[in-house]
C-alpha cells in the first residue's frame, strides 16, 4: 500500500467513527427504558439534579428529605416512599461484634438515646416500630471499633471540614460507647463497602446500608432504622414523574451499588417485557 492509501484509509475510519457517533447520539437510543446515570458518590447524583442534568434523583428517603429541606422551593418529591426496608450496621459473618452491636442498638432504643439522635437529625419517622429487646451487655476494655462509611450521604453521614458527621456517626459513637469502646469512621466508596468489610479494612459498616437478602448472604445485619426510597424532581415536576413505571425514557441519577440502582434495573426489566 502506498502512503497516501494508508492515510486515506485511516481518515475514512475516523470519519466513520465520527459520523456513526454523531448520528446515534453515541449509542443512546430512544426507548421506554429508564436511562440510569450511575455516579460513584451520592452527592454527585444529587448534584446532577441540581444542575438539571437528569429528570430525577433516586435515593433513600433520608438524603432526599435532607436536600428538600436544605433547598426550599427548588425540589419536590415525586410519588410515595417506595419499599421501606430496614437499614443496619453490617458485620462480618461469624464475628461476635455483630451480636454485641445488636445488643447495643436495643439498649440505645430502650434508654432513649436512639430517639434523641434521630430527632436531632430530623429522622424520627424512620425509627424502628418494634425495637429489639434488650439483653445485658458485657463491656469491653476500651478498644476501637472501626466503621466503614460512605461519607457522601447527608444527613446519615457526610464530611464537614474533613470530619465525619451525621446520624450514623452519632449512632456508631453511642453504640461503641455502650460497649466500652471508641468508634472510628473510615470513609469508603459505597460500591466497595461490603468487600472492604469482608477484606478486614474495618470492623463494621454503618452507611445507611439497606438490609437486603442479597447483601445478607455476605454480611450480618443489626438493623436500627426503617427507610424507604424516594424520587426527587425539580419543582413543578416538569417530567411528570409519579412512580418507577413513569420513569420510562427518563434519565435518573443514582449512586453506584445502591438498592435504588437495583430497583431501577428491575423496573427496566418490567418495562422491557411490557413492550412500548
Amino acid at each position: 500500500m502506498r502512503k497516501r492509501t494508508i492515510f486515506a484509509l485511516l481518515g475514512a475510519m475516523l470519519v466513520a467513527v465520527l459520523v456513526i457517533g454523531a448520528t446515534t447520539g453515541c449509542g443512546s437510543k430512544k426507548s421506554n427504558q429508564i436511562k440510569i446515570q450511575i455516579y460513584p458518590a451520592d452527592s454527585n447524583a444529587a448534584m446532577a439534579l441540581q444542575a438539571d442534568k437528569v429528570d430525577a434523583y433516586f435515593a433513600d428517603a433520608t438524603p432526599v428529605l435532607y436536600y428538600m429541606k436544605k433547598n426550599p422551593g427548588k425540589f419536590e418529591i415525586a410519588g410515595k416512599q417506595i419499599a421501606a426496608a430496614p437499614e443496619g450496621i453490617a458485620t462480618r459473618k461469624g464475628d461476635p461484634l455483630g451480636a454485641k452491636l445488636k445488643q447495643a442498638i436495643a439498649e440505645l432504643y430502650a434508654n432513649g438515646t436512639m430517639q434523641k439522635i434521630l430527632s436531632k437529625w430530623g429522622l424520627s419517622q424512620f425509627a424502628l416500630s418494634n425495637p429489639p429487646k434488650t439483653t445485658p451487655i458485657a463491656k469491653a476494655s476500651g478498644g476501637t471499633i472501626t466503621f466503614c462509611s460512605d461519607t457522601t450521604y447527608p444527613p446519615m453521614e457526610s464530611l464537614v471540614n474533613g470530619k465525619a458527621v451525621g446520624a450514623d456517626v452519632d449512632i456508631a459513637n453511642a453504640a461503641a460507647n455502650l460497649l466500652g469502646e471508641k468508634a472510628q469512621i473510615i470513609s469508603t466508596g459505597f460500591d466497595v463497602i461490603i468487600p472492604a468489610l469482608t477484606g478486614n479494612k474495618c470492623d463494621a459498616i454503618i452507611s445507611a446500608l439497606t438490609d437486603t437478602a442479597e447483601r445478607a448472604k455476605h454480611v450480618n445485619f443489626a438493623d436500627y432504622v426503617n427507610v424507604g426510597m424516594l424520587l426527587m424532581v425539580k419543582k413543578g415536576n416538569p417530567a411528570h414523574i409519579s412512580d418507577l413505571a413513569s420513569l420510562g425514557g427518563k434519565t435518573v441519577a443514582v449512586e453506584a451499588a445502591t438498592t435504588e440502582k437495583a430497583a431501577l434495573d428491575a423496573e427496566n426489566k418490567v418495562l422491557a417485557k411490557g413492550g412500548k
Binding site: K3, I6, F7, L10, L14, V17, L18, G21, A22, T23, G25, C26, G27, S28, Q37, I38, Y39, P40, N44, A45, M47, A48, A51, D52, K53, V54, D191, V192, I194, P195, T198, G199, E214, R215, K217, H218, T251, A253, A256, A257, K261
Partner: protein
Amino acid sequence: MFIAVAVNWHLVWTRIVNPNGIFAHALWVTIYISIVAQILGIALGLLAALMRMSSFRPFRFISGLYVLLFRGTPVLVQIMIFYLMIPGRSLNLLLFHPPETIAAGILALGINEGAYMREIFRAGIDSIDRGQMEAAKSLGMRYGMAMRRIVLPQAARVIVPPLGNEFNNMMKTSSLVTIIGVYELFTDAQTFQSNTFSRDIAPFIAVAFWYLVLTSIWSFIQAMIERKLAVSEHGDEISLRERAVAIWTEGGGMVRSAWPWRARA
C-alpha cells in the same frame, strides 16, 4: 506481605468472551470519547504551537496561559468543571446533540490533551532546520504553504511517536469520565463488580484486558503510520513487524541484529 487473591477466572473468561449487551455500548463510548478528544487535542495543540512561535506577542501569551492552566491542573477537576459548565442535557452543535456528559468528557480530555500536544508539536517543528523554512520562502512559498508542504511533513516523523503515546494514555485516562456518570468500560466493570458484593477482582481483570486490546490495536496502527512516514529514510527503514514489537527489544527495536529475520532485508 500477604495478599489474598481470590480471582474467579471463570468469570474473567466469561466477561472477555461473552460480555453482556451493554458492554458493547460501554466499549463504544470509550473508543468514541478517546478518538474525538484526541482529534480535538491535536487541533488545539497545533494551533497553540503555531501561536507559540508567532511574532505577535498576545498569541504567545495566550498559548502560554493555555498550557499553564490545562497542563497544570488535574484532568479530573477539568472534567467536573466542564460537566457543570455545560447547561442542560445535551450540547447543541446544530448538526447533532451529544449527551452533555460525553461532550463534557470530550472537551475536558481534548483541551487537556491539547496542552500536552502543543509541546510535542513545538519540539517536532523545532527539530526541523530553520534553513528548510528559509529555503521554502526563497522559493516564493508563503508561511502557511511552507509549513504544510515542507516543515510539518518532516516534523511528523518526530511528532508521531509521542503523539501515539499520548493517545495510548488518552484511552486509559478516559475512564475518569465515570465520575460524571458516563457509562463506559470502567463504569461497566465497577457496576458488575459491586453487584457481586465480593472482593473478586475478576471484572477488573477483564476490563484491563479490554483496555489492553484497545491500546494494542493502536500500537499496531501507530507502527504502520510510523513506517509509512519513514519511507524517505532510504535504506534505513525497519519492518512493520519490528516496529510493532519495538517495545520488547533492547534499543527500542532499532537494533537490527536483535532480530534474526532482519537478514532477509
